[in-house]
């Protein structure tokens, strides 16, 4: 069984930042592996260790800079990586769900995986929709927000728990192949070992352009355009205590006593 894991390098924002047009000024941005994808990678690697999967491939839509993040997934046990990038993508502000779907669909058609694992959402634009959209595009089953997974390769099914609101989980059986969007907490993502990090340097990381995938340039234009970005207005009149930790703690303690908190 072959597993494809979608992996994204997300932008992280420093505490203090400035907005430049419709983006955060690059000086205040960092990069990290998307939190949810870390759990998806772990789920795939565990299926491989259990002898259920025999190959784990990752796919990323991202520029060359993202390769360091992709290597993290390889260091944790994925066998090889695909990175989709193209000049046509560099010009796009906000890659919408439809465009991501089209690119990933082309990769799935090449790779023909039995299972695709994605994160529930990415921490930067948080659409939370690519996995399910992809499933429909490649005409397979799916489940969103999975926090428990058992695969039965002989029966060709997966038993999943979908985490609903309010501490309720839905138990669902689905036919394979399928796309599952993986929720944090489903497992304990491992840290890459030194050996893993060394091995990752030698694992294949294949770059694919739109032409390689047979996707039109127009497919990535999308219908969404980011037109403004700003800091949200505060809803409350927040009182900020200033001073040293002793002073602020003293002020807060006075307030809390006023509100009835007592030792």
């Amino acid at each position: 069984m072959k597993i494809l894991v979608t992996v994204k390098e997300v932008a992280t924002v420093e505490d203090e930042f400035e907005i430049d047009g419709t983006a955060i000024d690059e000086r205040f941005l960092g990069a990290d592996l998307n939190e949810w994808d870390d759990y998806a990678i772990e789920a795939a690697v565990q299926l491989q260790e259990d002898g259920i999967a025999d190959e784990v491939v990752t796919v990323t839509i991202g520029p060359e800079d993202a390769e360091q993040t992709i290597r993290q997934a390889l260091a944790k046990g994925a066998d090889r990586a695909i990175r989709v990038w193209d000049d046509a993508l560099a010009d796009v502000d906000l890659l919408d769900v439809g465009a991501k779907t089209e690119l990933l669909q082309a990769v799935v058609e090449d790779e023909d995986p039995d299972l695709v694992l994605t994160g529930v959402q990415s921490g930067d634009d948080s659409f939370g929709a690519t996995g399910v959209s992809l499933a429909d595009a490649i005409d397979t089953q799916w489940a969103a927000v999975v926090n428990d997974l058992e695969v039965d390769p002989d029966a060709g099914t997966a038993s999943v728990h979908r985490e609903l609101e309010g501490g309720v989980e839905e138990l669902t059986e689905i036919d394979l192949p399928a796309v599952l969007t993986i929720q944090t907490g489903i497992n304990e993502p491992r840290y890459a070992s030194l050996r893993g990090i060394r091995q990752a340097q030698r694992k294949p990381l294949d770059h694919q352009t739109l032409a390689d995938l047979g996707v039109d340039d127009g497919a990535v234009d999308g219908d969404l355009e980011l037109t403004d970005m700003y800091e949200p207005e505060t809803e409350t009149d927040v009182t900020v205590f200033e001073g040293s930790a002793e002073e602020t703690a003293g002020d807060l303690a006075d307030l809390l006593r006023e509100k009835g908190v007592e030792a």
Partner: protein, 318 residues
């Protein structure tokens, strides 16, 4: 083609609150496009639901009487057929866990652009303008969709619930479900175990987030809680890491709490966390980041390192 089709959300025999909020969002949008508001309810006791959904501003309710509980294959088929029959301009769905399990599939199948987790909507000429957050709520953005039609999921709690009684027509929609295309079966539900502490019962919660950094450091929080005679709760990563049991988690997938005082320590205030604590009487935030989204709903704040403030605060109460 100027109508709006909103899809109600329900679970285990009850309509969820976001359904009524969808009616308001849908009515507002239909007023801007000059169209009608159609509401669809799929599966479960649909006639009972239809009666409840017939609130002010709703023009028509379409019931799809097929199955009891949510099944994404049934939803996807039913909504695409409703779309073909009604030809609405916009499809509105809730940004609930189930909404995210069918809306992207519906959008893909109908070749509609999709924008999710929207907190505000407007129409500007031919374009739909959607307001949404990015980077865990650190910024808000507006996105324009220049398309004839679109699918949108809305965040719960952003629109008021529709009220009153409407005079909508209620019609059973004649759906044709292809059973061979149903590849998923819901076999049951499970509730997260209760445990010995009920955080929903506490008057004062000291709530800890990822800012605590290491499991060992939780001791600082328990010391503070003991000194203040408060109960310890947490954001999700603390539970995901296995540092505290699930019954301590506040938020969308955890508990909804409404204490007199909620002290958020090293918690950024992501929407899924805020969903569980915004009803607290007084909210205090201790966070090094003055721009953390928690500051937008806090009443009192300290912009400082929790490792300095928390021990000092504990001392105050000892």
């Amino acid at each position: 083609m100027s109508d709006v089709l909103a899809i109600a959300d329900h679970r285990r025999g009850e309509l969820r609150d976001v359904s009524y909020e969808l009616l308001t969002a849908g009515r507002d949008l239909a007023d801007e496009t000059g169209g009608d508001l159609h509401v669809a309810v799929v599966s479960g006791p649909v006639d009972e639901y239809a009666e409840k959904l017939d609130r002010e501003g709703v023009d028509a309710v379409h019931t799809v009487d097929y199955g009891e509980e949510f099944n994404h294959d049934v939803y996807t088929q039913a909504i695409t057929q409703l779309y073909d029959a009604l030809a609405p301009q916009y499809v509105l769905a809730p940004n609930s866990v189930n909404g995210l399990d069918y809306a992207p599939a519906v959008a893909n199948r109908l070749d509609l652009p999709l924008v999710t987790d929207v907190v505000d909507l407007a129409v500007d000429g031919d374009a739909l303008v959607a307001t949404r957050e990015m980077y865990g709520g650190k910024v808000e953005t507006t996105t324009e969709l220049a398309a004839d039609a679109a699918a949108v999921t809305i965040r719960s709690g952003e629109w008021p619930a529709a009220e009153g009684t409407g005079d909508a027509t209620v019609e059973a929609f004649d759906v044709d479900i292809d059973e061979d295309a149903i590849g998923s079966t819901v076999t049951g539900f499970e509730e997260v175990a209760g445990g010995d502490v009920d955080i929903t019962d506490a008057d004062v919660l000291v709530s800890v987030g990822r800012g605590i950094d290491e499991e060992e450091n939780l001791e600082l929080i328990f010391d503070l809680a003991e000194a203040m005679d408060a109960t310890v709760s947490s954001s999700r990563p603390i539970v995901d890491n296995g540092w505290l049991p699930p019954n301590r988690q506040v938020g969308q997938s955890g508990k909804v709490v409404t204490p007199d005082v909620y002290v958020a320590i090293g918690i950024s205030g992501a929407v899924q966390h805020v969903a569980g604590m915004k009803g607290s009487e007084t909210i205090v935030a201790i966070n090094t980041d003055p721009n953390a989204p928690i500051m937008d709903i806090a009443d009192y704040a300290i912009h400082d390192d929790l490792f300095d403030v928390v021990p000092a605060l504990t001392e105050e109460f000892q």
